[in-house]
């Protein structure tokens, strides 16, 4: 199933999907809109993080980077999976030698490209338009890279698992967005998590987003911003532990759920569902 040929075909597939995104304004504007939104939110910030001399806009930019990863891996990806399961793309690839592996390679390429491009846009925009900037030391650069990489892997695996169990693409947005807003709220993305009730903080700590945002802050903000952190520390080991645990969980769940969901599909089931969709649109 996994062969060099399938890998090469998967990359070819990914390149075509990227090209299609480039020629569809609705799509690339959608992807560009996310960093623009966070940049706008950051530019509205005037004060400092309470108890420090670090501009709040820098925290918003760092939180924005974490949110961008969340959006591509846990909103865009599950929606794609649900849509392409329903329109028969997955089924056709299941009937093609090496098709499923090539599909996963292509989606990985897409997720990485979207995540990296939007992150670069937000960081550069933040440096130009706000007081935010880039990491100041090789150590901070390293931190930024490993947090984004491990965080994206953890989120994307979880997103793939979610996409596999989503009922259909029309309900996907509601199923995904509502918990997503809750997660953004409890993860201390745009205001210090210390300002929230203890129990909400604990909920936030279970999920990867809080740790990704904290890790990115540790790479973009000076240590004087630590006053606003829960543990008054960047907690790199804890971050690594939680993200690693989510990655392992995703590795266990995602392949199994994806395989099951593509097994559930067949031509006649697609047909039956399409008739339901057809009836709805009248």
């Amino acid at each position: 199933m996994i062969s060099r040929q399938a890998l090469v075909v998967g990359l070819h597939r990914g390149r075509i999907e990227l090209r299609q995104t480039m020629r569809t304004p609705r799509e690339y504007l959608g992807h560009l809109g996310n960093p623009a939104m966070f940049l706008f939110a950051a530019s509205l910030q005037t004060g400092n993080i309470s108890g420090s001399s670090v501009a709040s806009s820098r925290m918003v930019i760092a939180g924005g980077v974490a949110s961008l990863l969340l959006l591509v891996a846990m909103v865009w990806l599950p929606q794609q999976l649900a849509t392409e399961r329903e329109d028969g793309t997955l089924l056709r690839l299941r009937g093609t030698p090496g098709g499923m592996f090539a599909y996963l390679v292509a989606k990985t390429l897409m997720v990485i490209t979207i995540a990296v491009l939007s992150t670069v846009l937000l960081l550069v925009g933040g440096a130009v338009l706000t007081d935010s900037g880039f990491p100041r030391s090789p150590g901070q650069w390293c931190t930024l890279l490993w947090v984004i990489t491990l965080g994206l892997v953890a989120l994307a695996l979880t997103g793939a698992a979610i996409g596999a169990v989503l009922p259909n693409p029309r309900q996907a947005l509601a199923w995904v967005m509502i918990p997503m807003f809750g997660l953004l709220f409890v993860s201390g993305i745009f205001f210090p998590v210390t300002s929230m009730p203890q129990w909400l903080q604990i909920i936030g700590q279970v999920f990867p987003l809080k740790w990704i945002a904290q890790g990115i802050r540790s790479a973009l903000l000076p240590d004087s911003a630590l006053v606003a952190e829960t543990a008054q520390s960047w907690q790199h080991w804890e971050t690594f532990g939680v993200l690693g645990a989510w990655t392992l969980l995703g590795l266990l769940l995602a392949p199994r759920l994806l395989l099951n969901s593509s097994r559930r599909e067949s031509g006649s089931r697609l047909m039956a569902r399409r008739e339901v969709v057809g009836q709805r649109s009248y």
């Binding site: 028969g88 089924l91 009937g95 093609t96 090496g98 090539a102």
Partner: protein
């Protein structure tokens, strides 16, 4: 229009075709407490076109999806190109082409782009450009798949089904929703695949005329049971619907249904002592036979 061969043309099937392309023994399928297939036995010979004919809900799609490896059967033995499709791998997939009931996938891909991309999955693919010519889609090569008409989309699906140069092609209800011209073009395409390339084709249809036109043999599936199997001629003979004999006698139009029209005509000759006025003998068409079979099953 000639379908280009992916490899040097193979020798025409000899009188001994070897092991069958598909072999099905006592195939059963049960969904919950409902039996969809009640022990189907069927062999598809290499190089033949076999139509699985039956009304909607007869179990045609279930059967073909089991053969394609998309569905797990409840029991029975199935061998497709010598392999059980349930544990078939990529090497087997490369030898089998699949055209499903209705596909709207890859809607935003351009036709040429999609065919070219799918050629890359196979060890020995056809030339994408020649294939597009062969299915009559060269003019649409630059269009997005979602802009194609129903018939064009279906021909694209067939192109994708045969891009890998399969030995066996599955066509599930291939012409549903076609206008007559698109249907005729499609039939010509399938005939060419079979006669020029010796490809084995298993197609499902609820349209008798289509089965008669395309198939070397027809298997009639009703209510999850195979009730008849044979060439169109054999089928007509196997379950003989009554012929109708019409004639005039004593200034009156008469008609009678009979299994043996020749016998009836002989009796009439004898009784009338000469030529029979206004004699008409209407032999059952295959359609009458098929409808007769459906009626028999329902009874």
């Amino acid at each position: 229009m000639v379908i280009p061969a992916a490899a040097p043309p193979v020798a025409a099937p000899s009188s001994d075709p070897g092991p069958p392309a598909i072999s099905i023994r006592n195939l059963r399928m049960r969904y919950g407490s409902r039996d969809v297939l009640h022990g189907v036995d069927l062999d598809v010979r290499r190089g033949e076109v076999l139509a699985l004919l039956g009304p909607n809900g007869a179990g045609k799609s279930t059967t073909i999806e089991i053969l394609e490896g998309f569905r797990r059967r409840s029991s029975g033995d199935v061998s497709v190109l010598g392999t059980d499709p349930e544990d078939a791998g990529d090497a087997w997939r490369a030898r089998v082409g699949i055209v499903m009931q209705s596909w709207r996938d890859h809607a935003r891909w351009r036709v040429q782009e999609l065919v070219e991309h799918f050629s890359r999955y196979y060890p020995d693919p056809r030339d994408p450009q020649e294939l597009l010519d062969a299915v009559g889609l060269s003019e649409q090569a630059g269009q997005e798949c979602q802009q194609l008409s129903g018939g064009q989309r279906r021909r694209l699906d067939v192109a994708l089904g045969i891009i890998g140069g399969p030995e066996l092609l599955f066509l599930d209800e291939p012409t549903t929703g076609f206008d007559p011209e698109a249907r005729r073009d499609f039939h010509t395409l399938v005939e060419r695949l079979s006669t020029v390339e010796g490809m084995t084709v298993l197609l499902t249809t609820h349209d008798l005329a289509e089965a008669e036109r395309l198939a070397d043999r027809i298997a009639v599936l009703v209510g999850g049971r195979l009730i008849a199997l044979g060439s169109p001629g054999q089928l007509a003979a196997e379950i003989q619907a009554d012929a109708e004999v019409r004639w005039s006698e004593a200034d009156e139009r008469r008609h009678q249904r009979t299994k043996d029209p020749s016998r009836l005509v002989w009796d009439l000759h004898t009784r009338l002592g000469g030529p029979i006025p206004d004699l008409e003998v209407r032999r059952p068409t295959l359609e009458d036979t098929y409808l007769g079979m459906l009626r028999q099953e329902e009874a």
